[in-house]
């Protein structure tokens, strides 16, 4: 946001040109981002239902009170939090391992990198359908068969998506499969921009591999790591497609999420105001996560 071009004299018609250049984007952002966000705040304070004969009126915090007291919505928030708590560390660690692996100077790394990244280009709706079949119940289900094979029949076949304890982890596993390549690529770019001299310096001090990783790689990777963790956290709160397609929030709300509940409120009950309140809650959760994570980074910087 630094002021630029202070030295250069303003060109003739520059203001008009700039306005014309910026106008389409600014108009779009105003109409389709800023206005809807304002609308979300406004609608959430009313009792609006689509197609309802009741007159819309201001009801204050009532929708928020109702939404936050609803056990299903509480479960949805818990599920999103669980999702983030498991997927963020697991996926980030896995992405780091994969990035380190494909960063080796060995033959064929380009191929491995492409294979690990491939699921990222798959639409989540398709991934959800393929994995629904992978999680098929009974000994013939692919995952059940694989588990039976590696444990020599020690694990009985599961019905992953209809099991209260397994359904959410099943969705997590699938999401990690689809998303880890994205993080890997970001971290790989980070790895490759670490100056080689740092490793050479470490080598002259006879630092071992682990010590190099601990004192050179990790600190140098801090920014990309924080970025990927942040993106994954926000994604964890946005989970919707998988749930809509694979479990519809079940069994017994075990996999429901905030966005799934918001869409249910609109589609099943035409409760636009309630759904608006839910998305505002969603927004504040995401904002809080972002702020906490940023504060954590800043602290770390001061300590370092």
């Amino acid at each position: 946001m630094k002021p630029v071009n202070r030295r250069r004299p303003r060109l003739r018609g520059e203001g008009v040109t700039a306005a014309l250049f910026a106008a389409p984007a600014l108009a779009g952002l105003l109409l389709f981002v800023a206005v809807p966000f304002g609308l979300a705040l406004g609608l959430s304070l009313t009792n609006l239902r689509m197609g309802s004969p009741l007159q819309t009126r201001f009801v204050g915090w009532q929708q928020y009170a109702r939404v936050l007291a609803d056990p299903t919505f509480q479960r949805a928030m818990l599920n999103n939090a669980l999702f983030a708590a498991v997927v963020v560390p697991v996926q980030t660690t896995l992405a780091l391992l994969l990035a380190l692996a494909v960063n080796q100077r060995l033959r064929g790394m380009v191929v491995f990198r492409a294979l690990f990244f491939m699921p990222v280009v798959f639409p989540m709706a398709l991934v959800a359908l393929v994995w629904e079949l992978i999680y098929a119940p009974g000994p013939n289900g692919p995952l059940n068969a694989l588990l039976g094979l590696v444990t020599f029949g020690g694990v009985a076949p599961q019905d992953f998506l209809h099991d209260r304890l397994l359904a959410l982890p099943a969705i997590m596993l699938m999401s990690i499969w689809q998303g880890v390549g994205f993080q890997m690529v970001v971290l790989l770019a980070g790895l490759q921009s670490i100056p080689n001299e740092l490793y050479e310096a470490a080598a002259t001090e006879r630092a071992g591999r682990w010590s190099q990783f601990r004192h050179v790689t990790l600190p140098q990777l801090r920014n990309p790591l924080v970025f990927t963790a942040l993106v994954t956290t926000v994604l964890a709160f946005r989970v919707f497609d998988q749930v809509q397609i694979m479990t519809r929030g079940g069994p017994l709300d075990a996999t429901t999420t905030i966005m799934f509940e918001a869409v249910q409120a609109v589609f099943e009950r035409q409760q636009v105001a309630q759904a608006a309140a839910m998305t505002v809650v969603f927004f504040f959760l995401v904002l809080m996560v972002t702020l906490v994570q940023r504060a954590a980074v800043r602290q770390e910087r001061e300590v370092a």
Binding site: F21, F37, Q104, V121, F122, A125, L133, G181
Partner: protein, 289 residues
């Protein structure tokens, strides 16, 4: 920000062959975990429907004994796949092309031109970046319904052409370009639009590629929004169409897998051809952190 790419660090001194073999073995196992669901989908699409699940627990799950294209024919018989595909192409294509034009112009106005209110508006754009689509989907749905845009291309395209993150990405890229480029053109009294098109754009290919890749991946797979605003098959894009296809009786997994293969193949081809841009685009989108 940092010096140009350096070769990867020399972690491999002289390895014993056993360790090298182990290293590859681990990589191959990991690769199998990433590839097998995809192989499972492709194999399933080539088999008679009843065998998809019956053989799902054996190695034939990923390697069919005999292959037929019957499931692919079934898809075309049962649903207007061509129409769905066209819808996705039109919607994603327009968003990507429109987004490149609109957001690069805005990014340029913020980075290089002088006008009143610029810094304040840039602050607004930065603030809007933290609003994911999900947090405005419900009110936007309401807005689109009031405008009478449900079940149209317009509802699926127009709201997404302007993109705060894309504006920011262009803005920061243009800031990093040497200013002398344009100053020479300006002293020649070339117009600002012509300078932008002929001098700036050719030097900003990485930024355009990054934005194109990120927008394409996001909108080709977008599910929540078209699920909300589409009703019939006329403007239904592929992700909603495949979910809908699964709910159409009779449930035939072979057909669904064939649908999936056809839906993802063009993206995979694009990915393999433009792999460098995909990978760099994704990596660059992460560099602003």
């Amino acid at each position: 920000m940092r010096p140009a790419r350096t070769p990867p660090p020399v972690t491999v001194r002289r390895r014993r062959p056993v360790i090298a073999a182990l290293n590859y073995a681990l990589l191959v196992i990991a690769a199998a975990a990433f590839v097998s669901p995809i192989a499972f989908m492709v194999a399933g699409s080539l088999k008679p429907d009843e065998r998809v699940l019956a053989e799902a627990g054996s190695w034939q799950a990923v390697w069919p004994r005999e292959a037929s294209l019957q499931n692919y024919r079934d898809v075309f018989d049962r649903v207007p796949f061509g129409r769905y595909f066209l819808n996705s192409v039109v919607i994603t294509g327009t968003i990507v092309l429109g987004g490149l034009v609109v957001n690069s112009l805005a990014g340029y106005a913020f980075a290089r031109l002088r006008w009143r209110g610029r810094d304040a508006l840039l602050g607004v754009v930065l603030a809007l970046m933290v609003l994911p689509l999900q947090s405005i989907a419900v009110p936007l749905f309401y807005e689109v319904t009031i405008l009478g845009w449900r079940d149209t291309y317009t509802a699926q395209i127009l709201p997404f052409v302007a993109n705060a993150s894309a504006v920011y990405l262009f803005y920061s890229f243009f800031l990093g370009l040497p200013r002398e480029l344009e100053e020479a053109a300006w002293t020649d009294r070339a117009g600002m639009l012509r300078t932008f098109l002929e001098v700036v754009v050719p030097n900003a290919k990485p930024a355009f590629a990054t934005v194109a890749v990120v927008l394409f991946l996001f909108f080709w797979g977008l599910f929540l929004w078209p699920l909300l605003v589409t009703i019939g098959p006329e403007v239904r894009p592929l992700p909603v169409a495949i979910a809908h296809f699964q709910t159409l009786p009779p449930l035939k997994w072979g057909d669904i897998m064939a649908f999936g293969v056809m839906m993802v193949t063009p993206v995979l081809v694009l990915f393999l051809v433009f792999q460098r841009w995909f990978v760099q685009g994704v990596a660059a989108s992460g560099r602003k952190g």
